[in-house]
Subunit: 353 residues, 2 copies
């Protein structure tokens, strides 16, 4: 157990070397552990857009480091602001649904702008930006551990938990949100077994959730997404826990496509349905789920599995990458600040984080 | 349209050459059209067990031909009965959920037994058995066309229909059940677009439903199983139609895993949910869904996609191949005899077909 608990604190999908960023290529898991070096915001943006790194908190952190890299070029304060704003545009355009991305970019921009208006020199601004990105990363891991402890209290001493996609160490700075709750429950001595939806089309559950839980010695079995319904019906699952890409002010939650049907089925079978996400995922500026932009990704990602095209030529496919689960189906939202239950009112003044 | 209507009548996954059986290897679709020659009931059983042929009506027909092949060996009437009974056991053991399999084998056995008790010679018995298998095949196609016409009346003039797995020509003697309803609607001049769930783990929707509908010029798009929920929520789907592997006397229906969640989601969004199946799928001897045996297939079929293992070593997977949709979620059951609505009472005397 001590060994497992140790390993739980290790895994991060993003490494800052002090000089450059290295991003774990999650498209290559579970087969190979390959790190992509990034020296510019454009290279960072590519890792996000092409899903080498994914997961709302992780892409926020990655973008923050991308902002820090943008300040590396030569030039005085005026150039720095221009570079930061250009990088912000490039990074923000990579993926539309996760709000943590905009949140992290915004936080980095503020550091640059306030340092500039404070008359700091270029070297100081660069150092401050790097420190801010590192802080965003470290805070995320710390938040996930707090979140995990809050969430762990919701789980019975012995239980089977169903999860969708990967809201784990790989989706965050480390430790994970939904999987952070599971890790914290295991660290608290609970006996947790996990069922991981494979999560088509990217198979984040089969490839990533299974990989990182097995690495930590937490029992996990993989099922196809379509099997969750009949398994929930049997009564063998005591809780469903998922992450979130964006939570609207009323609690409506965007997450990986397939989350909404799980929530409907959990409600039908009286299984609690929990959303675990850091407060940076709360989008107080978005009133309701209908207002969350849902990314439509390339149909190729549905057609082609493991390099083989599974559909006949000429037949189209669709790929909405996320869906919205209405607040009424969510038993609780767990953040680093605690466990929130309906009615959800995440309505601090818009713009205030 | 005339061309499309012509093609619709063509496709069958099972060919009887008069001498041997040829089974279309559906594991090779949509890439290659390969036919497996079968000269013995053991070879036929293998095509069913290994899912070269699949779909409840199609495996029934295939098994019927397998029974006919069992009588090919030399020997007098006593030997024929023994051979038929041995083949019946082998073929019945291939897959547990579809009831059409037992139904077809039983029908073939009756022909053998009644011919034997009528004092017929071996050549006559062989001829009668082949004629019976051919009749089962031809009746299935004719039933599907009647079924299709009944079902087509349920569809609006313009509509999008969501289907799961493949209940098409490839799953039957030809024309299909769920896809037979769609073909009949198209033949009646309706404007039908199809959304095909890809249907993990075997991808029958992506590979087979997409292939046979595209072949007939019927518009079809593929989605991941997990996308059906949010698409049903948008209101763009006017009906869900699926096939069945076994329908209990009370209407509870076993079908490909993933059918039950679709039915739950359709009910939530007031989209009618139809089951289309020949009356040979009605199992009057099984009172309720709980009594239907659900086949647990190899976890390898979940782990490995297109020859690539998607899960990390040592992580188990589960593979319930079917689920049961309770009758309360089924808007209508369509058979060749018409459209049936709740309360379902498929209770002719048990044993009578």
């Amino acid at each position: 157990m001590a060994e497992a608990a140790h390993a739980m604190n290790d895994l991060t999908p993003i490494r800052w070397t002090g000089d450059a960023l290295e991003v774990l290529d999650q498209r290559e898991l579970p087969w190979r552990e390959t790190w992509i070096p990034c020296a510019s915001p454009e290279e960072v943006a590519r890792t996000i857009r092409d899903m080498a790194v994914r997961g709302a908190p992780a892409i926020g952190i990655t973008a923050a480091y991308g902002m820090a890299l943008a300040l590396r070029g030569p030039g005085g304060p005026g150039k720095l602001r221009e570079a930061a704003e250009a990088a912000a545009r490039t990074l923000a355009a990579t993926r539309p649904t996760a709000v943590n991305l905009a949140w992290a970019i915004d936080r980095m921009l503020r550091v640059v702008v306030s340092s500039l208006s404070g008359g700091r020199d270029a070297a100081t601004i660069r150092r401050r930006a790097e420190a801010e990105a590192t802080a965003i990363h470290e805070e995320d891991v710390a938040m996930n551990k707090r979140l995990g402890r809050h969430g762990a209290e919701l789980l019975p001493h012995e239980c089977t938990v169903l999860t969708h996609c990967n809201a784990g160490a790989l989706a965050t700075g480390g430790y994970g949100t939904a999987l952070g709750v599971i890790r914290a429950a295991v660290e608290a001595g609970k006996d947790v077994r996990v069922l991981a939806d494979e999560t088509r089309p990217y198979l984040q559950g089969a490839r990533l959730t299974a990989w990182e839980l097995a690495r930590d010695g937490i029992p996990v079995s993989v099922i196809c997404d379509s099997m969750a319904g009949s398994i929930l019906r049997t009564g063998e699952v005591q809780a469903v826990i998922v992450g979130a890409d964006r939570i609207a002010a009323n609690g409506d939650t965007a997450n990986k496509v397939g989350t909404y049907p799980l929530a409907v089925l959990a409600a039908r079978h009286n299984v609690p349905f929990y959303v675990a996400a850091p407060s940076s995922t709360l989008d107080r500026c978005t009133a309701r789920g209908e207002d969350i932009p849902i990314e439509e990704r390339s149909a190729e990602e549905v057609h082609v599995v493991a390099g083989t095209r599974m559909t006949p030529p000429g037949v189209p496919a669709r790929h909405p990458a996320f869906d919205v689960t209405p607040a009424e189906l969510i038993s609780a939202v767990v953040t680093e600040d605690g466990v929130f239950r309906a009615p959800y009112v995440f309505d601090r003044r818009c713009g205030e984080r």
